[in-house]
Symmetry: C2
Subunit: 88 residues, 2 copies
């Protein structure tokens, strides 16, 4: 199969899974309600997304790099909110 076509499927995947995750970040930003988020879990997730990013670069996969560049910012923001608003 043509490489371009494969990468298009990857980008569709990247856009959909990233889009599904963003409302969670928006909701947390709006409500500042971080009670249901666990910091160790967010940290594991952050390291995981960081590893995907490295994997994307090593495999030369634009969709993986694209999706995880956005998701690592989201994951970082959620961690920040948890640390900032979690104590209240």
């Amino acid at each position: 199969m043509q490489d371009d076509f494969i990468e298009i499927i990857g980008f569709i995947a990247a856009i959909l899974t990233t889009a599904a995750f963003l409302p969670q970040v928006y909701k947390t930003w709006k409500t500042k309600d971080v009670s249901s988020l666990s910091l160790p879990m967010l940290l594991i997730f952050f390291i995981g997304v960081f590893s995907w990013l490295i994997y994307g670069f090593l495999k030369n996969s634009p969709p993986i790099i694209f999706a995880n560049s956005i998701t690592i910012v989201s994951a970082f923001l959620l961690m920040y909110y948890k640390i900032r608003y979690g104590k209240k």
Copy 2:
């Protein structure tokens, strides 16, 4: 860089991001509380994960196939819970 090493990084990524997602599924299963989940969002996520799975097969990437095989089951379960318990 050696291919095996690249795939190991991918598997670390796959295990970490999958592990971070499972407690959410477990919590939903235990509490049956699906009020904070949106069905259109779950559907978008499910189609996204399905697309990643196709991408993983086309790119011949074991970590992508591994991570998304587990995640697609989780996404399916969350959709099932939402449809089954969402009306109450």
